[in-house]
Symmetry: none
Subunit: 191 residues, 4 copies
Amino acid sequence: MTETDSTGATRSRRDPEARRRGIVQAAADLLMESGDLTHRQVAERAGVPLGATTYYFASLGELREAALAQLADRLNDDLARITHEVAAANGDVAVLAAQLHAYLSDVDQVRADAALYTSAAQDPALRHLALRWFDGFVQLTSAWTDPSTARNIAVFIDGASLHATLTGKPLDLPTLTSGLKALLRTEDEEA
Amino acid sequence: MTETDSTGATRSRRDPEARRRGIVQAAADLLMESGDLTHRQVAERAGVPLGATTYYFASLGELREAALAQLADRLNDDLARITHEVAAANGDVAVLAAQLHAYLSDVDQVRADAALYTSAAQDPALRHLALRWFDGFVQLTSAWTDPSTARNIAVFIDGASLHATLTGKPLDLPTLTSGLKALLRTEDEEA
Amino acid sequence: MTETDSTGATRSRRDPEARRRGIVQAAADLLMESGDLTHRQVAERAGVPLGATTYYFASLGELREAALAQLADRLNDDLARITHEVAAANGDVAVLAAQLHAYLSDVDQVRADAALYTSAAQDPALRHLALRWFDGFVQLTSAWTDPSTARNIAVFIDGASLHATLTGKPLDLPTLTSGLKALLRTEDEEA
Amino acid sequence: MTETDSTGATRSRRDPEARRRGIVQAAADLLMESGDLTHRQVAERAGVPLGATTYYFASLGELREAALAQLADRLNDDLARITHEVAAANGDVAVLAAQLHAYLSDVDQVRADAALYTSAAQDPALRHLALRWFDGFVQLTSAWTDPSTARNIAVFIDGASLHATLTGKPLDLPTLTSGLKALLRTEDEEA
DNA sequence: TATGAATGAGTCTTCATTCAT
DNA sequence: GATGAATGAAGACTCATTCAT
């Protein structure tokens, strides 16, 4: 279908990198939508023959890992962006709460999180992917809070994401705000 | 083997309820251990013939739901117990933190949580099971805090459980304590 | 097809033993004919659905072993019969040679041997099957020769079978006779 | 790596014959080791790109045949050497037995035989390869025995090789010696 | 009531072969 | 001349579910 583009050159076919990306993307989509992953589903979704999925990935596990890594990357980027914005606002809790609320309002984001956590919970080999953002967040956030508080906030965010997955909607902004505000105040009074 | 005892009464055979319970228990165990569930595995684990699993449950989905309901019940009971103890201690945060830490140190408990959340994340029809404890906790806890705080604590606990699943060990007690303390202090100053 | 027999009773279906035998027989036939064995081929040959072959045998290897065991049994029986007849003739070499020549003239027998040896050569776990007749022969024959001579005769017979496989026809009777006669004379002069 | 040497000449690349030999050798090794043969395995073992295996051989069958021909050549050479040594010793049976025992003690030799016979048994088109040594042996040996005896000895040797394959070790030297001695004595008394 | 035989759909995976480059 | 991307057919195996008994 995408055989020819505006330049008239053939694409996709004989473009291994694009093909590989397409397969990973299809797998990531499927993981977000159903959590199930089969070669057949991936092939159909990516618009490639069945053999292509096994040609590019030695096993379904390898493909799953690649797809989850992609989701983890995105999650990482998003949370790093949020963290930076909060840092730019001198750690303003309202900013953090607002950003988080927006994040949790995005169905795709929440689904990506869920796919990541679900897969990681079932396969220990994938846990490092699910923990990547956590560790990164704690590190970034430690610039303006102590590590213990940073961990607690990260834990709270994970809980909020799980809650959004289970209820289908984010925690209301006031609750989110009060929770984050409370957790962040710790440092001032406890150290 | 334990088919007949000294009284001449048959045991698991001819005791449909016990058999059903055994099947559910076996299914719950398998969900905790691997997340996979097949009729064959359940039958073998429960020590019943293959046909029994389809005889007592119309479909595998139904059996899975029954197994998850059992896990949810247990989770419910455990957290209700913890809540009561905390209430008895007049909402002492240290007691809550200690109880929660003990809970998260129990591998089986954490696995049960993970099985419940994983299944619920993938199948919307099961979400009410995963939310059962959340709602109950908020209700019980609202006796000594405001609902918003109660929700935040519940969210935090979910996050901590997820974290325990992903790292294989609970958050350290001091961090847990400081987080819960911070969240609970909110009510005094914000309401 | 064989659903009903002269008694009007249904057969084959719901006759697990017969079904199992039919599958093994089909597998043995295929091993004799081509040396290859696939579930699909077996199912088609046996006239059963594909799933039946995996229902009765946990793996293709198990099915192959059962089929080879059947071939080995037959080989065993045939050679035991020959041995008995030779023993009845007081170890008359001419009788042995004639029987062996007849045996090697039977295309199916030779093919069965070849299937057995070929499979055993490729899979050490199957070697005991291929050696069964050898050991039995040596034991039986030791009644009228010394063990070393018995072994040599067995080796010679194996070689003759291999030769028949490769050339498509048995060694000519005179050659066979002279070989066996020579090997059997040993005992008189060497012990 | 060994693509270019000090003379500036390319080695395996740009040396089609060497490459072809390398592929055949790799295939022969694989046949000896597992009996299985795939383009991928051959390419990896030979250290050539996948395409090279199909470039030099029109089909896998052709490659297999070339590999077996190589094994047959080696077998031929070895047995010709043995035959010559025996002839040089004026047909001394002890020499023949010792040489054969050494041959059967060499795991690789026995494996090569097994690969050859196994393939030939399954594919009639390959039988001439497995018979090559037999015919050569009979011809060479007929210099000092009659053809019938030569055939019987060749049959015996094949049986001994098969036996070594199945048991993992050669027939013991005394048994081997007595067998060969007996077979060779025939000529003196029968002719 | 209870069971295990039965099966067809679907799983992952391998691979010979083709062919564009 | 050489190569590796590509794919469709086939492989072993699993399993929920049905149903005869």
